[in-house]
């Protein structure tokens, strides 16, 4: 197909400097999460007049004393009627520095799968604590799940500071408790976790977008400034070149053969020596293209088409990887999974379909080693089954070799879903553990 677009010299930086931050939050009715999000959108001037008028009408009809900014975030009829958040809702806003996608999830333990869903694509987790109550079980759960899902940036918002007379001592005590929790999580996951803390009042609007007039003892950035400046450029794996092949592009009546997919790791460039798995055949990258236009290099998460110097037999589900850093083919591996099905508990011997990158196979659950306490991530080996919302370590055996990296090394190539073939439902989210 002819294209009228000018050739691009590089995939990045050609179209302005604003990048994208995806973050997640979790919370329940009382901790002010919806108010915080409403406040963030309202103060960042990301709400529209007709939206504000609509919630003013609803607030008035319900007899609220003030306009409930929380109503900006509740979408479904049942949620508006019951005043609760049931499902993951996505919110969008932007500042001149960044675009933001917020995955807003409920916080109760019965919604763990929704929290996992929201955290799976997030770069940063916003953890909300009520200044009057300090760290709750729910706080520990949110922080634990976020770090389990590979989020390395946590922003702790100590909310309702107006209800504790804006005392610095209250804030400091909660921060100390949270740093202790973060230290434990660092040890558990053997990785760096970047923790930032902000004292706020979502109701009044202190330190959300505008600096607080009352908390002069806090000199750090506001929440929005934190979100605008956190450095996530190197959170993707930029070392191990990975292109799971989504489909092969072969225009009719042409010799062209391109391998389409998302760059799942490393930086791909023309001339790179690559190996194709499972065949083990080797070649070099001839071109890297977007929309038929060659580019100089591609990094995650760009969708590209790659052509190779040699004519190889490659199909969907194969992996093109840098020859210098090939993943080990795995038929048996351990993984941490979150079980998401109401229909049945997971017990050893269960057979399920697996989707790992673009590769589909079947797995059998050989063993359930332990269940995690989702509040502490402590293993509990006494339970041989996983029920809805349980997270546990399992040993899986696959009908075909997979080429995963450990999730902690690469979220894109270390993750998978399990599907019940009888119902076609997605029943688990999985993270591949290192091969010790």
């Amino acid at each position: 197909m002819p294209t009228t677009n000018p050739p691009q010299s590089a995939p990045a930086n050609a179209y302005g400097a604003s990048d994208l931050l995806r973050f997640s939050t979790a919370g329940s009715v009382d901790d002010g999460k919806s108010t915080l999000i409403g406040r963030l959108l309202y103060d960042a001037k990301q709400t529209f007049d007709d939206q504000v008028e609509a919630i003013e009408r609803t607030s008035k009809a319900r007899g609220d004393a003030y306009v409930d900014l929380a109503l900006l975030t509740d979408g479904l009829r049942a949620e508006r009627e019951q005043g609760i958040t049931i499902d993951v809702a996505y919110r969008y806003f932007q500042t001149p520095r960044r675009k933001f996608i917020l995955a807003d999830t409920p916080g109760h333990v019965q919604y763990t799968r929704n929290m996992v869903t929201g955290a799976s694509t997030a770069d940063l987790a916003l953890i909300l604590v009520d200044a009057r109550h300090g760290l709750m079980e729910q706080t520990r759960r949110h922080a634990s799940l976020a770090t389990l899902l590979g989020i390395t940036h946590l922003v702790l918002c100590v909310n309702k500071m107006d209800l504790v007379d804006y005392q610095q001592a209250v804030f400091d005590r909660i921060v100390t408790d949270f740093q202790e929790l973060a230290a434990k999580l660092r040890t558990t996951h053997e990785r760096e976790i970047d923790v930032r803390t902000v004292p706020i009042s979502a109701l009044v609007g202190d330190n959300i977008v505008d600096r607080s007039d009352t908390m002069h003892w806090y000199q750090g950035p506001t929440l929005l400034e934190r979100l605008e400046t956190v450095d996530i450029a190197r959170d993707n794996n930029l070392e191990d070149g990975r292109l799971p092949v989504q489909l092969v592009i072969r225009p009719v009546g042409s010799d062209y053969r391109g391998y389409a997919g998302v760059v799942a790791g490393g930086i791909l460039r023309p001339g790179d020596a690559v190996t194709v798995l499972p065949s083990g055949l080797q070649s070099t990258i001839r071109t890297v293209e977007i929309g038929g236009v060659p580019i100089a290099s591609a990094r995650p998460p760009l969708s590209v088409t790659v052509t190779l110097a040699d004519d190889l037999d490659i199909s969907r589900g194969d992996l093109i990887c840098h020859s210098a850093s090939r993943p080990e083919p795995r038929r048996e591996f351990d993984a941490m999974i979150c079980w998401m099905s109401e229909a049945a508990t997971l017990t050893p011997g269960r057979k399920l379909a697996i989707k790992h990158t673009t590769r589909n196979a079947r797995v059998v659950v050989d063993a359930i080693m332990h269940r995690l306490d989702v509040n502490t991530l402590a293993p509990d080996p006494s339970l041989p089954a996983l029920a809805l919302n349980d997270i546990g370590r399992v040993r899986l055996r696959s009908s075909a070799a997979l080429f995963p990296d450990a999730y902690k090394r690469n979220r894109a190539t270390g993750s998978f879903i399990l599907v019940d073939e009888a119902t076609s439902n997605t029943v688990a989210a999985g993270m591949v553990l290192p091969n010790h």
Partner: protein, 311 residues
């Protein structure tokens, strides 16, 4: 810094947000093409579906888009948009299926609303579901965005519809990472929304950056309009003006392009894409709030229609 180091740094630099959204949409479109037997892309000639079609073209370049496009024609569409629609699919070599609401009415499958200005907005659902069944489409790309409306904010990118085309918001599949599940039972189908994470401003910025052609009525032009419920409607055979609704000439443009009976224009002097981008960036009213009568039915108007099988 050495040249190598500079190149390294450039390659590792953050990917601008529009390029990330583009990459995500291309991935979604390719995933459906790989895992579904009979996909179809809804194309109305409106700005969102123009972007979606352009992304599909990129996804399979230098090859052709490997599935047809479909338009649900209410019979109340703007003629210039239909002309644009036909030209665009011809340029890309894509087959176009047109499913007509009038045909559904003629066949007794749908009943025209009564009153002076019958809207065919709700009737589109009948025509859409019939066309999906007739052509045995099992994956339908729609251009809906989550920022448009509260119920849409909660819908999955791959959204399962049952035999009746219904959406069940309380029983949605978990959607984790970018590992989409396109499986479904016979009779069911999936709706796929590659633009889920785009905002209205993203769409306009992308149209501008990619220099994509759009129907002229998106730009400021002179048109005979009348005022109703605070909105400006085009004078047309499909809308009967009340005696109090006098027509007048105005410089207007459209923010959304749907049915002439429920899409209103806004007063605007924005005549180029950069001018529109600037106007959207400064606007204080959502596009559906400003120009879509179909969302004013109730707080949950969209949720109710989506449950029935609407786009």
């Amino acid at each position: 810094m050495t040249t190598t180091a500079t190149t390294q740094a450039a390659a590792a630099a953050p990917v601008p947000h529009l390029r990330q959204l583009e990459a995500e949409a291309i991935h979604i479109i390719r995933e459906v093409a790989a895992e579904s037997q009979r996909p179809v892309l809804l194309f109305s000639g409106g700005k969102d579906s123009i972007v979606m079609l352009a992304l599909a073209a990129k996804a399979f370049a230098p090859g052709r888009i490997p599935f047809p496009a479909m338009h649900i024609d209410t019979g109340h569409n703007f003629p210039e948009v239909l002309a644009f629609r036909d030209r665009r699919v011809a340029e890309l070599g894509v087959d176009l299926v047109v499913a007509s609401v009038q045909a559904s009415i003629n066949a007794g499958r749908a009943v025209e609303e009564t009153g002076p200005n019958p809207s065919r907005n709700r009737l589109q659902t009948v025509t859409l579901l019939d066309a999906i069944t007739e052509h045995r489409f099992n994956a339908v790309f729609g251009g809906a965005r989550r920022d448009e409306e509260k119920a849409r904010a909660k819908e999955r990118i791959f959204s399962l519809r049952d035999d009746f085309g219904q959406w069940d918001p309380k029983n949605q599949r978990p959607e984790i990472w970018n590992l989409y599940n396109a499986r479904h039972s016979p009779g069911e189908h999936i709706r796929v929304f590659p633009l889920s994470n785009w905002t209205e401003l993203d769409i306009w910025e992308y149209l501008d950056e990619e220099q994509l052609e759009i129907p002229a009525l998106y730009f400021a032009h002179q048109r005979d309009v009348f005022r109703r419920d605070g909105m400006l409607y085009a004078v047309s055979p499909h809308l009967t003006q009340l005696p109090t609704e006098a027509a007048f000439g105005a410089q207007v443009r459209y923010r959304t392009v749907g049915d002439m009976t429920c899409t209103a224009a806004i007063a605007s002097a924005a005549a180029t894409l950069p001018a529109v981008v600037a106007e959207i960036a400064a606007t204080r009213i959502t596009e559906r709030g400003e120009t879509r009568a179909d969302d004013r039915i109730s707080e949950t108007g969209m949720e109710d229609r989506k449950r029935e099988g609407y786009f």
